[in-house]
Amino acid sequence: MTYQSDVAATLLEVRDLRTEFDTRTGTVTAVDGVSFSVAKGERIAIVGESGSGKSAMAMSLLRLLAHPGRVAGGQVLLDGRDLAGLSERALNAIRGREVGTVFQDPMSSLDPVMKVSRQMVRPIMRNLGLGRDDARTEAIRWLDKVGIPDAARRIDAYPFEMSGGMRQRVMIAMALSCRPRLVIADEPTTALDVTIQAQIVAMLKDLTAEAGAAMMFITHDLGLVARFAHNVAVMYAGRIVEFGPVGAIFAAPQHPYTQSLLRTIPSVDGLRNTRLAQIPGLPPDMRRKPAGCAFRARCAVATDRCARDLPELGPRPGGLAAACWVEGGLTAAPVRPEPRRKPARIAPGKRMTVEINNLVKHFEGRSLLSKNRSVVRAVNGVNLRVRNGETLGIVGESGCGKSTLARLLLGLEQATSGEIFIEGLAQMIFQDPFSSFNPKMRIAGIIEEPLAVQRWGDRAERAARVEDLVAKVGLDPSHLDRYPSQLSGGQRQRVAVARALALNPSVVVADEPTSALDVSVRAQIINLLADLKADLGISFVFISHDLLTVRYIADRIAVMYLGEVVEYGPAEDVFDRPVHPYTRALIDAVPIPDPKLEAGRSNAPLKGDLPSPLDLPEGCAFAARCPMASDLCRTEKPVLKKHRTSQEAACHYAN
C-alpha cells in the first residue's frame, strides 16, 4: 500500500524497494520493502537511527550505493518512469539533472584537488545545454544565492580553502544548479554546528520552495524535521514504521517507536526533575533479523502476534499510517509517568571542587622562514568554579575551546598561563569511547587500569572493585572478558563511565559523551550520568554542543565563544532568559520537536561562520556575527559581569 499526501501530482513513487548488502557473514537486508510517494514540491523527511536503512534507501533511488550494496527489488518511479530498470548511462542523464543530491559530510564530499568551478560548471553545461561562460555565470549566481560571500572570486577556490559550512553551501549550490525537480539531502547538517545547521536547513527549505523542487531530507534528528517537513517517514530496521503529515506525527504519533523516540528527547521547556524516557535495548542486528516486528524486543506493548507476523502500514487517525499490531501503540497501555530524578546534593557554602582562574592556552605554529609566529588562542582567559556535587555544563560551537579546556583540566595540556585548582582527582569520559580504549585489552583490564596504575589493593580486591563498578553502570558482568570491538556504542560508553569512576574522583569531565551515540541509546547514558551524579555526590563538567542535553543535566552553564566564557549562570536561567546575544542565537538555533512551536519561533539564523581563532578581532569576538553590534563592540572588549542575580555575561548591551 502506498501513502501519499494529496497536495499535488505525484513526482516520485517508490514501490516495495529492497536493498541488500552481501557481506562475508551473510546478506544484510538494509531496506526491506519500502513504499511511499512524494508529490511535486513536497518536503518529506526520512527519520531513523543509524542502521535503520534510511541512507541506503535514499542512495538506492539513484543507484548510488557502493559495492557490495545493490538494489534487490522494487520500483522507483520518477514521473512514472522506473529508474530501477534504467541503464547506467540513462541514469546519468537523471542524476544531477532531475534529481540533485546533498551529502552528509561536506568536508569529504567535494573533490579536494578540483576547483569548485570545475566541479560545478561542467554539469551545468551538460545538463542545461549552456556554453562555458553562461554556465559559469549560472554557477556564480547559485553560489551567491547560497550565501557564499564574493562568489565570483570564490568559485575558483579549492574546497579545502573553505569552512565546513561554506562547503555545504557549495554542495547545495551544486545540487540545485541544474534545476532538479527533487533534491535528496542525506543528513546534510549532521557534521555541522547548531547555528550553521539552522542556516543550512532554512536555506534548503527556501531554495527548494523557490525552485518548486521537492525535497527528501534524511536525518536521525526528529526535532529537526518539525521545522520544515510536510510529511515524515520514520524508519526502523529497514522498514517504514510510521508515515504521515508532520503535525500529526508530533502531536499524536501512533507507532510505539515514534512515540518512544519523541519522549527520549529532552525538551527546551520540559521538566528537569524527571528521568528521561529511554528505549531499552539496542536496534536489531540486521544480519539476523527476527521474525515478526523488528521493534518488539524494545516495545512495551508487544504481544504474541508481534513475534509471529510482520505488521504492514495501516491507516491511523490524523492521516497517519503505522505498521503496528497494537492500535494506538503505547497509548494502549496505561501511561506511567517517568520516575522522579534524584536531586543532586550540591554542598552549600563555598567549597569548590574546581577553581579555574584566568586560564589561557595558546598553541603556537612555528615557521623556519617567517618571524611572525601564528598563535591560536584556544582558551583565552577563562574563570570558572565548580562546587562540590555540582554539574557544570559547557556549551559552544566547535572551535570555541571547550575541548581544550577539558584537556587542561585533566592535565593533558599545559596551560600557557592561569591556574587550575582541583580538590581531589579529576577523571575523564572521552567523546569517542572506542578510541579511548586500547583495542588489545579486555573490558576488565580497561576498567582495572586506573586501579592497577595506582597500585590500588591486590589483584582480588581490584577484581571485586571492577565487578562493583560494572554493576553500578548497568553493564552485564559477562562482558568483562570481551574486547571493546565486541560491544555496542552504548555499552562502550558505560565502560568509559566505569573506568572514570574507578578511583573515586571528585570531578568527572565528560567531553561530548553522547554525541557518538544513537538517539535511542543516548537517553540511557544521560540517565546513567544523572543517577551517578545524585548517588555519588561527585562534580561533573559536562561539555556538549547539544544544548537540550546540557540543559537537562547541568546545574550551571557556561557558554563559550572563541576561547572565552560569554555567559555563565544557573542552567534554567541561561536557557529561559539568556542575556548574551550569542546564547540567544544558540538557543534559537536548537530544533524543537514541535511543529507548532517551531512555526512561532523567530527563524532568523545567526549569520556567518566562526572567525578563525588565528586572528581574533580587537573588540568583542562575537561582534562580526552579532545583530546588535556597535562601534563600541568592535573596539572595546566586554568583560564578564553580573546581570540579574545569578547570571554573568560579557556583553556591552546585555539587558
Partner: protein, 293 residues
C-alpha cells in the same frame, strides 16, 4: 554512530578438532594456501637427507646435464650433480637467511623505533638521521657494497641484507608509535598518571606487534630474493656450497642445452616468496578486517 550494531561480534564457535578451522588466522584462505605451499617445501627440505637423492655435492661425470627424470626430478648439472638435492640444500640457506634477517630487523626495529617514537627529541633526531642515511642506498646496492667490503659467505650476507631492512623497520615502528601516542587511550592512561614504562609496555608495544610481524614476513621473502640475487652475482654464498642464486648462475651458461638447471630452482624461490607474501596478507586481513576485499 554508524557502527552501533556493525561491530557486535558473536562469540566464536568451537569447531570439531579435525575439520579445517574456519575462524581466526588459521581459518584465513590466504594463510591456508600459503601453508599448503610452504609446508611441503619445508618437509622436503627437512627430509632431504632421507630421500633417495644423490648428495648435493656428489658429482657424477657419466650423467651430466641429464633432463628431469624419476631419478633426478630436477635433472643434473654440468658436473652431474642432482639439481633437486642441491635446490633443497639451497632452500635451507634461503630460509635461514630469510628467518635471520626478519628476526634481526624485527628486534632492532622494535627497540630503536620505539625509543625514537616514544621519547622524541634528540634520540629521535639522531636515530632518524642515521636511518635516512641508510635508506639513501637502494637495498640491493647497500648489500652489494657491504658484501664487497666484508666478504662473501652466509653470515656477511645475512648482515648485509639486515642492514638494509633494519632502518625500514625502525621507521615503521616509529610511525606506529607516533600515531599510537596521540590516541585517546594514551590520554586516558595519562589521566591516571600512568608511568612512561606502563604506557610503553601496556599500550604502545602490544599494538605495534602485529603490523611488525606482517612486515617481518614480507621482509623474509625479500631477504630470500636478495640473497639469491647476491649469490647469482657471485657475491653471496660461494660455490660449491649450493644456494638457489648460485645454482641458477651455474645454469646460466647452459641455458639452451639444459634449461632446467636455472628455471626449476627459480620456480622454487618464487613459490617461497609467494607463500610468504600470502601469509602476511592473510595475517593482515585477520588483524584488520578493513583490509579484506
Amino acid at each position: 554512530m554508524a557502527n552501533e550494531t556493525a561491530d557486535i561480534r558473536q562469540p566464536r564457535l568451537r569447531l570439531p578438532a579435525l575439520s579445517l578451522p574456519r575462524d581466526g588466522v588459521w581459518g584465513n584462505r590466504k594463510v591456508q594456501i600459503a601453508l599448503m605451499i610452504l609446508g611441503p617445501i619445508l618437509v622436503l627440505t627437512a627430509l632431504a637427507p632421507l630421500l633417495p637423492l644423490q648428495a648435493p655435492l656428489e658429482t657424477n661425470l657419466r650423467a651430466t646435464m641429464e633432463p628431469p627424470s624419476i631419478v633426478h626430478p630436477f635433472g643434473t648439472d654440468r658436473m652431474g650433480r642432482d639439481v633437486l638435492s642441491r635446490t633443497l640444500e639451497g632452500v635451507k640457506v634461503s630460509l635461514l637467511v630469510g628467518f635471520s634477517v626478519a628476526t634481526i630487523a624485527l628486534v632492532a626495529g622494535m627497540i630503536f623505533g620505539t625509543l625514537a617514537g616514544f621519547f622524541g627529541g634528540m634520540i629521535d633526531r639522531i636515530v632518524m638521521t642515521i636511518v635516512d642515511i641508510f635508506l639513501a642506498f637502494p637495498s640491493l646496492l647497500l648489500a652489494i657494497g657491504l658484501v664487497a667490503i666484508v666478504g662473501t659467505g652466509l653470515v656477511p650476507v645475512i648482515a648485509a641484507i639486515a642492514m638494509a631492512d633494519v632502518p625500514r623497520f625502525i621507521r615503521l615502528q616509529r610511525s606506529q608509535v607516533l600515531s599510537l601516542r596521540s590516541r585517546a587511550f594514551i590520554d586516558a592512561a595519562r589521566t591516571v598518571n600512568a608511568s612512561q614504562g606502563w604506557m610503553m609496555t601496556r599500550h604502545i608495544i602490544p599494538n605495534t606487534v602485529a603490523p611488525m610481524l606482517v612486515a617481518a614476513s614480507i621482509a623474509s621473502a625479500n631477504a630470500i630474493l636478495v640473497e639469491a640475487s647476491l649469490s647469482f652475482l657471485g657475491l653471496g654464498i660461494m660455490p660449491p656450497a649450493p644456494s638457489l642464486g648460485n645454482i641458477i648462475r651455474d645454469g646460466q651458461t647452459y641455458l639452451q642445452q639444459a634449461w632446467w638447471i636455472s628455471t626449476l630452482p627459480g620456480i622454487v624461490i618464487l613459490l617461497i616468496a609467494f607463500s610468504l607474501h600470502f601469509l602476511s596478507d592473510g595475517i593482515r586481513e585477520e588483524l584488520d578486517p578493513r583490509a579484506r576485499k
